[in-house]
Structure formats: structure tokens, C-alpha cells
């Protein structure tokens, strides 16, 4: 450490109330360099960022020092910090959909940063905002300053947030999971934009992420955090090569985890046949007398899933993945085509046979939001049992609940607990138990592992793989995370604008994509450098 760093954090400790959050954090960022902070949820990586910004929740106590050019930020008053925020340090957040004020135009919101810190008038500030938006590749010619946030996509909104953060050319930019909520191609664009801004402005960047591959792509230095402690730090190259700490190794292993899977034997046994299915949504009438228009969310889609097969479905947000899921589950009617599950037709509404209904179940992304918080776990996972014809007596029912809980790696006593008493990974196990209890042949996993930390994700993938071989289960694995899809599926479908643009054996599609869209998607996947 020869030259003095732009940002130097020494012995940072943070507690909120009685709860210690950060223990003795030290790290530094140089001008023009990128520091990646990696950690799973609860590791304290975001709290480190908020400590630098001094935007901590009430009751937070910080100690240590956060030096920026020799000034300790922890000594500054709130009024002085207001001058630092937005001027010396900018920040970009995870959720571009909610990070902007919905009732103000993007021009005004970018201009606000300038007006707060300089004496510029509205007109002058807007002309600066115009130039800044051009820099973040959101040209006002195409996206006028008078647009409101709801008129932009997630990636475009994130560019606006970045524009607000860099409008005054801060010396340090903090980006807290800036691409986690974005599609893979948008993620690649935003990361390269950040990299470009760092170089052009000689700015320091702290990039916080749970995704090793994202950080590996652009960071110079890396800090790995766990439970409020820095477990390993250094240059990306040295950390990736040495992996001194056991947790680092565990994180690497989990990031590119590939569960052991048996291959299917009977290739002609089709479980689900989706034939030429379309789904139209009615658009609101544009005027009182005009005919309502239609939007085709799923456009003549055909595919099959064999018994015991894992089929992946990938595509960016808005491509029709979720609509297709709803149609397959019989929750939405289709306007064209047919769906056959195990020889029986799938139709929306009451017309579908209960026996067909029980053969497919679904697991959603957010296990917490998809459970009734006032019911005990036993009741939650027994809910689909009304689909099973023979009426179970109380004893058999209790036994079935216990066996199902055990089969997903939970305890029998968990049936008496409430959903808030479980961690994210355990909740997802409960969601799988609920899906499993009717002994289905097909489980649709709709972004089922996307919200999980990598080490938990690896465990859930293992569980899914075990269950698949034990019960000859088929999965329709829907995800925006292409590397996970690659590691767990036999075949894959690529969806764009409601159409399946490519399908085939997973390895073949990933190594030799034929459609230009698939090529773009695959090129955008951030990759971990090979370390062995």
C-alpha cells in the first residue's frame, strides 16, 4: 500500500441496538479501481455501504474510521454528510423499479442532484442532466427528459439512477447489487457502462454483489464477507487463485455447483405435450367505441417433457415465461392449441380432472410471499391433499405430512411451526414439500432458486435432483439464470417475445447456439475464471 487510497476503511464496527452487525471491517479503494464486495445475505455487505454513506437505520452505532482523502466521514455532522452524498460519493441501488420517484420526470430527478449541490438554476441543471443521460447511454433524443420512470424498462431506469449518482462526477461510486434485478444481457451492458465511467472519470467503484462471476468480470480487488467479518481480501487474481479461506472455497464450489443426476432411460415416454399453444390478453380499449386490442403473450408454442426429464425454459423478463406457466398449470385458458398431461387434457377452470391437476405442482420464486403466514407448516403443505381422492384419516394424513417433511430434509416437529420461523432455504424446502405431497409427475420450478444464496441454492439443487431420481419426477425449470439452467437440465427452450426461438439438448444449445438471440444471451453470462 504505497500511495494513499481514495477510500480507506479501518476497523469499522457497526451495531444496531444490541445486535452487532459489522466486526472490524478494513478495506480500501483506489481512484480508477473497482473493489468488489462479495457475500451472502446477512454478511453485512450492504450495511458496509450504508455506513460509508452514513444512511444507517435508527439506533445504529458506528466506530472505527472511514477516510476519504484523509477526512474521516464518521466525524462529519449530518449537514456535512449531506454535502458529501451525491457530490463526493454517489450510490446506485439494487431495485431500479422502485429507486426512482414515480411522480417526477427523469430529467428533474437527475437535475436535482445538480441543483442540490450547485447554484445552477433549473434550466442549467436540466442541460447538465441532458449531457449526463447521454453519458449513461440513454440519449435524450430517444428518451426525452420529460419521461416518467414508469415509461422506461428496468435497465433504462438503472441508467437513470446511475446518471443521478455520477452527475457531479463523484470520486467514489457505490453500487449495491446494481444488476441483480436485471436480465443477463442488460446486466452485461450496465456492468460495462460502470467500467467505462470508472475509467473516464478516474472514479473509485465499490461493487457489491452476491454473484462471484459478476464481480470477477470487472473488479480489480475483492473482499469476501461473511457474518459481518472480512474473511478474505486481495486482488481478484490472487483471491481467485489461492482461495485461502475455507468459506471462499465453499463459495466458489457453490457458485458453479452441478448436482449429480441420473439420466433418463425411456426417451419415448412423453409426460407433457404442449401443442401449438397461444395465449392472448385483452388490452384496454383505447376509446369508448373502438374494439379492444389483443396482446399475444405466448405465440404458438410447442414442446414436450418426457417422464423424468428436466426441461429448462430461459428468456428475459416479459418474454412470456410466466404466462406459459399459468397456461400449463391450467390457471389461464389458452386461445389456441392443446396441452396434454399424462394422456389427459389440461383445461382452465373446473373442467380439468382432479386426478390430472394433482399430477402437476409448482414452486415459486418467493417462498415467503406464497405461504399464508397464519397457518402452520403442517397445514400449509397438506393443502393440495384435497386433490387426492381417497379421503385420508387423521393419522394417515399426519404420517404423510411427516414423511414429506423428512423427504425434503426437514424435521417432523417443523409441522407445528409458522413460516416466519424458517430461513429462506428452509422455506423453499417447505414449498417443495407442498408440491411433493400429491406425488406429482411434473413440478414447475418458476425461478425457484433465484432468490437463494449460492450455498443454499446448491443444497436445494441437490434435493431436487435426489427427489427426481427417487420419484421419477419431471421438472420444468424456469429461470433467468442461465448457468443454473445449464447445470441442471437435460434439454432447454429459449423463449423470446412469446415464441420458442430455439430448443435442444442443453449442452448442445449452450456450446453451439444457432439462433442469434441465444448467442447474445449466452455471450452475456458472466463467467468465473477457471482457477484449477
Amino acid at each position: 500500500m504505497t500511495s494513499r487510497s481514495l477510500l480507506q476503511i479501518d476497523g469499522l464496527r457497526l451495531s444496531i441496538g444490541e445486535q452487532p452487525i459489522l466486526h472490524n471491517i478494513s478495506c480500501s479503494v483506489d481512484a480508477g479501481k473497482v473493489l468488489g464486495i462479495i457475500g451472502e445475505s446477512g454478511s453485512g455487505k450492504s450495511m458496509t455501504a450504508y455506513s460509508i454513506m452514513r444512511l444507517l437505520p435508527q439506533g445504529a452505532v458506528v466506530s472505527g474510521s472511514i477516510g476519504i482523502d484523509g477526512d474521516n466521514l464518521l466525524d462529519k455532522s449530518e449537514a456535512q454528510m449531506c454535502e458529501v452524498r451525491g457530490d463526493d460519493i454517489g450510490m446506485v441501488f439494487q431495485e431500479p423499479m422502485t429507486a426512482l420517484n414515480p411522480v417526477l420526470t427523469i430529467g428533474d430527478q437527475v437535475a436535482e442532484t445538480i441543483r442540490i449541490h450547485t447554484s445552477a438554476g433549473r434550466r442549467e441543471a436540466l442541460s447538465v442532466a441532458h449531457r449526463v443521460l447521454e453519458r449513461v447511454e440513454l440519449p435524450p433524443g430517444k428518451y426525452p427528459l420529460s419521461r416518467y420512470p414508469h415509461e422506461l424498462s428496468g435497465g433504462q431506469r438503472q441508467r437513470v439512477v446511475i446518471a443521478m449518482a455520477i452527475a457531479l462526477k463523484p470520486r467514489l461510486l457505490i453500487a449495491d447489487e446494481p444488476t441483480t434485478a436485471l436480465d443477463v444481457t442488460t446486466q452485461a451492458q450496465i456492468l460495462s457502462l460502470l467500467k467505462k465511467l470508472v475509467q473516464e472519470d478516474d472514479m473509485g467503484l465499490i461493487l457489491i454483489s452476491h454473484d462471484l462471476a459478476v464481480v470477477a468480470d470487472i473488479a480489480d480487488d475483492i473482499v469476501i464477507m461473511r457474518e459481518g467479518v472480512v474473511v478474505e481480501s486481495g486482488t481478484v487474481r490472487s483471491v481467485f487463485a489461492q482461495q485461502t479461506h475455507a468459506y471462499t472455497r465453499q463459495l466458489f464450489k457453490a457458485s458453479s455447483y452441478q448436482p449429480e443426476r441420473s439420466t433418463i432411460t425411456n426417451v419415448d415416454d412423453n409426460l407433457l405435450v404442449v401443442d401449438n399453444v397461444s395465449r392472448d390478453y385483452r388490452l384496454p380499449r383505447t376509446s369508448f367505441f373502438s374494439k379492444p386490442g389483443y396482446f399475444r403473450a405466448v405465440d404458438r408454442v410447442s414442446f414436450t417433457i418426457r417422464r423424468g426429464e428436466n426441461l429448462g425454459l430461459v428468456g428475459e423478463s416479459g418474454c412470456g415465461k410466466s404466462t406459459l406457466t399459468r397456461v400449463i398449470l391450467g390457471l389461464d385458458p389458452c386461445q389456441q392449441g392443446s396441452i396434454v398431461l399424462d394422456g389427459e387434457p389440461v383445461v382452465a377452470g373446473q373442467a380439468m380432472l382432479r386426478d390430472t391437476r394433482k399430477k402437476m405442482q409448482v414452486v415459486f420464486q418467493d417462498p415467503y410471499a406464497s405461504f399464508n403466514p397464519r397457518h402452520k407448516v403442517g397445514r400449509l403443505i397438506a393443502e393440495p391433499l384435497h386433490l387426492v381422492d381417497q379421503s385420508l384419516n387423521t393419522k394417515d394424513r399426519a404420517e404423510l405430512i411427516v414423511n414429506t417433511l423428512l423427504s425434503v430434509g426437514l424435521e417432523a416437529s417443523d409441522a407445528e411451526k409458522f413460516i416466519h420461523q424458517f430461513s429462506g432455504g428452509q422455506r423453499q424446502r417447505i414449498a417443495i414439500a407442498r408440491a411433493l405431497i400429491t406425488r406429482p409427475a411434473l413440478i414447475i420450478l418458476d425461478e425457484a432458486v433465484s432468490a437463494l444464496d449460492v450455498s443454499i441454492r446448491a443444497q436445494i439443487l441437490d434435493l431436487l435432483s435426489d427427489l427426481s431420481s427417487a420419484h421419477t419426477l419431471s421438472y420444468l425449470f424456469i429461470s433467468h439464470d442461465l448457468s443454473v439452467v445449464r447445470s441442471v437440465t437435460d434439454r432447454v427452450l429459449v423463449m423470446k417475445d412469446g415464441k420458442i426461438v430455439e430448443q435442444g439438448e442443453t449442452e448442445a444449445v449452450f456450446t453451439r447456439p444457432s439462433h442469434p438471440y441465444t448467442k447474445r444471451l449466452i455471450a452475456a453470462i458472466p463467467e468465473l475464471p477457471v482457477t484449477d
Partner: protein
């Protein structure tokens, strides 16, 4: 924005047509003959026949509907049976009291509720918050007629600052008129202000927890700037809804307060007409109130769209 307003106006007109049909059917057709209803059980057949003639009941029902609506469009609400005068000037007189009273009460309620709600939300859990929450709880629980009597006994009887009731008329001057309306307006405003302050508080608390407030702070705005520039406008939608509902209620729902203060307002008129079975007046006042409610709803819709650009599209 203009397209939005025009479309809302069209649906406003349709609502009025539907409402007039429902009122007409409910009052004139369903219970049998209005004339014999108005005259009571012991009426002579000749008197009933004379009233039927006078009310124009001897033409067909659709004809009667169009006569009624046509009259209203020309500003002619017919002649009151009990008062034996034109309904239109009678309503206009009453409206000259009820409308200013409603606006006065609404203004007071908003002036009390906004600061109270903002203070409670920004100092959540503090003494000020507890005071606001406690006093609004009492304000909602107190019956306003009782509160009105308290006001009278304190300000009119003991301190003699205000008259205990009655209305001198606007020709005695704006100040005298407003003074006469002050105590009733306070009595009406108290429960409204309490509800509004609570809505303001909870709406603002929700907004202050939003991500974009954190973004604003990260740009360098102080907590106060973030509140004024970003939180308040976003917190306004539920508040506007309540204000719209409250105005409609205040316009006609002040009957008890009007009685306590001897104010000849719309609420008393409709109450008296109902007890005297004067269906002509009832019909007209109800239609007028429907019009007021629909108009206020329209204004609230337009206010929504001004506040929140996302609501301008549909």
C-alpha cells in the same frame, strides 16, 4: 391530460343519467301513486286527483321522466307541494349556506390534518406522534353534536364570542356570515380532521419507507428536503380520496349540526321535506346531491392525474 379529463366527463354524464333514472323509478313508480302518498291515508279522492293534475302525473311515465329531466336542465325543479313555492330558489337559498359551510369545514379539517399528519409521521413514536394519535382517537370517537353543544356553551354562552345559532344572511357582510358559520364548521371539521390526519400519517409513513426516499437521501437531500420534494406528493393519493368523500358527506350530512345551530341548510331541507312527504323537493335535492358527488369524484380523479403521472393513461 385533456383527453383524460374529457373521458372522465363523459362517464360523469352517463352516471348522472343512470342516477336520475334510479331516483325517478324509486320515488315515482315503485311505491304506487305519489299523490296519494303525499296526501296521506285520509285524503279525499278529489284532492288526490287535483294534486295528480298539478304534479303532471296524468301523462305517461316516460313523458314524466323527460319532463322532470328537461325541467332540471332548464333550472326548473318544479313547485314544492308543502311550501307552495318554486323549488329552485328554495334550494339555491339553502345551498348558499350549506356549500360555504362544507367548504369552510373542509378547509379547517385540511389545515389541521396536514400539519398534524406530517408531524406525527416524521416524528414517529415521539411525544408529538402520541399526542396526535391520542387526540385524533378522541376526535373520531366524540359525537359531533355533543362537541357542537360544548362549543356553544363555551364560546357562545360563557365567552359570548359567537352567537349560539342562526344565520344573519350574506347581505349583512362576509365577515358576519363567516362568523355565524365558524362554530358549526369547527364542529363538523373535528372528526373529519381526525380521520384525515390519521390517513395522512400512515400514507406518509409508507412513502417515507420507499426506496426512492433512500435514493433522494443518497443524492444529498436532507431528511426535510426528501420529505417535501419526494414524500408528500406521493403520499397524497389516499388523502385526496378521503377529502373527496368528506366533501360529499359535509354537503348533505350536516343535518344534526344545522339543527343545533338553527342553520337553514340543505340537510334540514331534505329532512323536513321527508317528514312532510314533499317528494318534489326530495327528488330535486337528492338529484342535486348526486350531481355534487359525481362532480367531486371527477375533480378528485383529475387531481389524482395531476399528482401521479401513472394514472393519466387509462
Amino acid at each position: 391530460m385533456l383527453r383524460f379529463a374529457l373521458r372522465r366527463l363523459l362517464s360523469l354524464a352517463l352516471t348522472l343519467v343512470a342516477a336520475s333514472l334510479i331516483i325517478f323509478v324509486a320515488i315515482e313508480i315503485v311505491p304506487g301513486d305519489p299523490a296519494s302518498y303525499m296526501l296521506g291515508l285520509n285524503a279525499q279522492p278529489e284532492t288526490v286527483a287535483a294534486l295528480r293534475e298539478e304534479l303532471g302525473l296524468n301523462v305517461s311515465k316516460p313523458q314524466r321522466y323527460f319532463n322532470w329531466v328537461g325541467g332540471m336542465l332548464r333550472g326548473d325543479f318544479g313547485t314544492s307541494y308543502t311550501y307552495r313555492t318554486e323549488v329552485t330558489p328554495m334550494i339555491a337559498d339553502r345551498l348558499l349556506i350549506s356549500l360555504p359551510l362544507a367548504l369552510y369545514a373542509l378547509l379547517l379539517s385540511t389545515l389541521i390534518a396536514f400539519p398534524a399528519g406530517v408531524i406525527a409521521a416524521t416524528r414517529r413514536g415521539s411525544g408529538a406522534d402520541l399526542a396526535v394519535m391520542g387526540s385524533t382517537q378522541i376526535g373520531i370517537a366524540l359525537p359531533n353534536f355533543w362537541f357542537a353543544m360544548l362549543l356553544v356553551s363555551l364560546f357562545a354562552i360563557k365567552l359570548r364570542w359567537f352567537a349560539s345559532g342562526g344565520f344573519p344572511g350574506w347581505d349583512t357582510g362576509l365577515f358576519a356570515g363567516l362568523k355565524a358559520l365558524t362554530l358549526p364548521a369547527i364542529a363538523l371539521a373535528l372528526p373529519q380532521a381526525s380521520i384525515l390526519a390519521r390517513v395522512m400519517r400512515s400514507s406518509l409513513l409508507d412513502t417515507l419507507g420507499e426506496d426512492f426516499i433512500r435514493t433522494a437521501r443518497a443524492k444529498g437531500l436532507t431528511a426535510r428536503q426528501a420529505l417535501w420534494r419526494h414524500a408528500l406528493r406521493n403520499a397524497l393519493i389516499p388523502v385526496l380520496t378521503i377529502i373527496g368523500l368528506q366533501f360529499s358527506f359535509l354537503l348533505a350530512g350536516a343535518v344534526i349540526i344545522e339543527n343545533i345551530f338553527y342553520l337553514p341548510g340543505l340537510g334540514r331541507l331534505i329532512f323536513q321535506s321527508l317528514t312532510q312527504r314533499d317528494l318534489i323537493v326530495v327528488e330535486s335535492v337528492v338529484m342535486l346531491l348526486v350531481f355534487a358527488v359525481v362532480l367531486v369524484t371527477f375533480l378528485v380523479d383529475v387531481a389524482y392525474a395531476i399528482v401521479d403521472p401513472r394514472l393519466r393513461r387509462k
